[in-house]
């Protein structure tokens, strides 16, 4: 493996992954709206159309439902499509093909086909795009057996998990937070994979566990640095995959620290934190909890347009710090 490691942005890392895939695997092709000459709404595909041609980087009409079905049909007949949604909110238009077809075809056909497709969703709030362009809907899809759902939080993982998804014979849904696209990080050159279904401990600690996804991983790390100065040593887990969840890593961490806080941008109720909380309560880690499980999630509202309201609608670093302080009461 090529050991050269450089700094790339999250979107550059994704582009690099797709270029490697297009180069090495003739079954891979990209489809999406404005991903060709425009370079993609978030400039992720960039100049890929010049390098690989319009037959491999396909600008599709605004037909999310039909397009998703085309991706399914192509995937069951030997191709490996990567479908870029312009905004994750538009997944709603394609849910029929994602949920009823892609997720279930292998099962309904008794294993006669696999559906090796990848769908990428720019997600999340903070750009002032307001209610219909700022949602975090990953929990909806993570609720569907037959799909795999991932949320890489770093450029390194964005590349590695996309490449892993392309090796996966089952449909993989990738939720990329828009505010992460410009984030820079170390990315090895060449082909490598980061496993789907494995969480990563970003910071080891002993007083409390934070399980976070996507952009909240970075907010949790900021909060953890602040809390260190107060003598509270927090362990931060980047969940990375929300279906399937890496139960072992979370359980072992909670057994060690005895306290758990889940932080995620999606609406708090019925989100991934609800699942983690229940999972821990059902597991052997229950008997190691020295405080109630706490969740921080998005507000019970659509994402507002006004920038202050927009920030207030999702967890921020001070919320995480306050949450941990509360959890750590009664600690010795």
């Amino acid at each position: 493996m090529d050991a050269a490691v450089r700094e790339l942005s999250y979107s550059q890392a994704i582009q690099e992954a797709m270029a490697i895939a297009l180069e090495s695997d003739p079954r891979v092709f990209l489809m999406g709206e404005d991903i060709g000459v425009y370079g993609g709404a978030f400039q992720v595909t960039g100049d890929l159309v010049e390098r690989f041609g319009t037959d491999r980087v396909i600008d599709m009409p605004i037909s999310e439902l039909g397009g998703a079905g085309v991706a399914v049909g192509a995937a069951v007949t030997g191709m490996r499509p990567i479908f870029e949604f312009q905004f994750s909110d538009f997944a709603t238009l394609a849910l029929e093909q994602i949920v009823n077809q892609a997720a279930k075809m292998r099962f309904m056909l008794g294993g006669e086909v696999s559906v090796p497709l990848v769908m990428r969703f720019p997600a999340g709030s903070g750009t002032g795009a307001a209610a219909q362009h700022s949602q975090s809907l990953e929990a909806w899809l993570a609720h569907v057996p037959g799909l795999k759902v991932i949320q890489p939080a770093t450029p390194h993982d964005a590349k590695g998990m996309l490449l892993a998804a392309l090796q996966d014979p089952d449909p993989v849904m990738i939720f990329e937070h828009k505010l992460l696209y410009k984030m820079k990080g170390e990315v090895p050159a060449g082909h490598y994979t980061v496993p789907i279904g494995k969480a990563e401990i970003r910071k080891a600690g002993k007083d409390a566990t934070i399980v976070a996804t996507s952009i909240m991983v970075h907010k949790a790390l900021d909060a953890a640095a602040q809390l260190m100065a107060e003598g509270i040593d927090v362990e931060v887990i980047d969940l990375r995959t929300i279906r399937p969840i890496d139960r072992e890593t979370v359980i072992e961490s909670v057994k060690k620290t005895t306290r758990l806080l889940c932080v995620y941008e999606a609406v708090k109720t019925l989100g991934i934190g609800a699942e983690i909380s229940a999972m821990i309560a059902e597991s052997e880690a229950f008997d190691y909890l020295d405080a109630p499980i706490m969740r921080l999630g998005g507000s019970e509202s659509p994402i507002p347009y006004n920038p202050e309201l927009e920030k207030a609608a999702v967890p921020q670093v001070p919320d995480i710090v306050a949450g941990i302080r509360k959890l750590a009461e009664g600690r010795r």
Binding site: G69, A74, T77, M105
Partner: protein
């Protein structure tokens, strides 16, 4: 007799009888009977409580299925609908494994996981029936995109009903197939009713094929119960697709003898209408008449076909009854692809 036939003007002899051998024509009749008796056998088993769920029978639409599939090669592909048993048999499926699937057995085409609405026969090119109206249409386009990208010369037939032609997916799919010139043939089996709603009440055009022009592709309406007419239209469209000239829309006007599903009380149409179609326009009767007319088969031969089919159906049902049920321990099998 044969010489008399050859002397007749080409126009008087239906396409099928000019282009297919007697063996092929006999096989078509055999398959049409097989479809009919399969549907009746499934219906009978259902009423005896042997089949779970419901079923959507295609009795009366046999010529449409057989005619469309006639020009297909074994590795050409089809996507089908919830009313897909006929398509499945027309594309080469075995009735025993179909019965087994309906009985929920592990020997079924979908190992008992899919049932009637999701029956498939992937090795024979049948990418599956679909429980979602218009669910299979974009999938067929995707399969055609694959064929074009892989340059393997395959053509995809996309079956759907009159109800599907008002779904958004229909419009999106025809548009994409057209702009990308994909080797897919869209086949609307218009049996006049989307469940209980007639096409007259649901669709803004009189003939669904009229919509083809909106997507810059040829559209043709044929009488769906005339095997030959259907075969001819299909052949033309399939050849066009194979030549790389893009998609077509074929509308076969047909009729279903039974209700939409097993719970349909047929309150939206009259008994008279049903009886008329059965008496005057039954596709099997029409084809048998032609076979006799053109000296391909006589009554005795036809009776033999019926007998053979009876035996096949009986054997199929027996196979299904004797096959094992899946274990409840295996409920999670096939959700994901097992990886080593």
């Amino acid at each position: 007799m044969v010489q008399t036939m050859k002397k007749a003007a080409a126009e008087n002899v239906p396409y099928a009888f000019r282009n297919y051998s007697p063996e092929q024509l006999r096989e078509v009749l055999h398959k049409m009977h097989l479809i009919r008796r399969f549907e009746e056998g499934a219906e009978d088993a259902y009423t005896r409580g042997l089949i779970h769920g419901t079923m959507h029978l295609s009795i009366g639409q046999e010529a449409s299925a057989m005619g469309i599939c006639m020009p297909l090669k074994p590795d050409d592909q089809i996507t089908s609908t919830h009313r897909g048993h006929g398509h499945c048999i027309a594309k080469g499926a075995q009735v025993d494994r179909m019965f087994a699937e309906f009985f929920g057995k592990t020997t079924g085409y979908c190992k008992g996981r899919g049932g009637s609405m999701h029956i498939a026969d992937v090795s024979a090119g049948n990418l599956g029936a679909n429980g979602i109206v218009a669910g299979g249409i974009p999938i067929a386009v995707g399969a055609a995109l694959s064929a074009k990208m892989q340059k393997n010369g395959k053509v995809v037939i996309c079956f759907f009903g009159d109800g599907a032609n008002n779904e958004g997916a229909f419009h999106e799919s025809l548009n994409m197939a057209s702009i990308w010139k994909l080797p897919v043939v869209f086949v609307c089996e218009n049996n006049g009713y989307g469940m209980s709603t007639s096409t007259a009440r649901s669709t803004a055009v009189a003939n669904i094929a009229d919509r083809a022009v909106a997507y810059s592709m040829p559209g043709v309406t044929v009488f769906g119960n005339d095997f030959s007419a259907v075969a001819e239209a299909s052949t033309e469209a399939v050849d066009r697709a194979r030549r790389g000239e893009g998609p077509s829309l074929i509308e076969t006007k047909t009729y279903r003898h039974r209700g939409h599903s097993k719970s349909d009380r047929n309150r939206y149409r009259t008994k008279e209408e049903i009886e008329e179609w059965k008496a005057l326009r039954d596709p099997i009767s029409l084809f048998e008449t032609e076979l006799k007319q053109f000296g391909i088969m006589d009554d005795a031969a036809i009776a033999k076909v019926r007998e053979t089919v009876e035996a096949e159906i009986a054997a199929g049902i027996a196979f299904a009854k004797d096959s094992p049920m899946p274990s409840t321990a295996d409920v999670l099998n096939f959700v994901y692809t097992e990886q080593q």
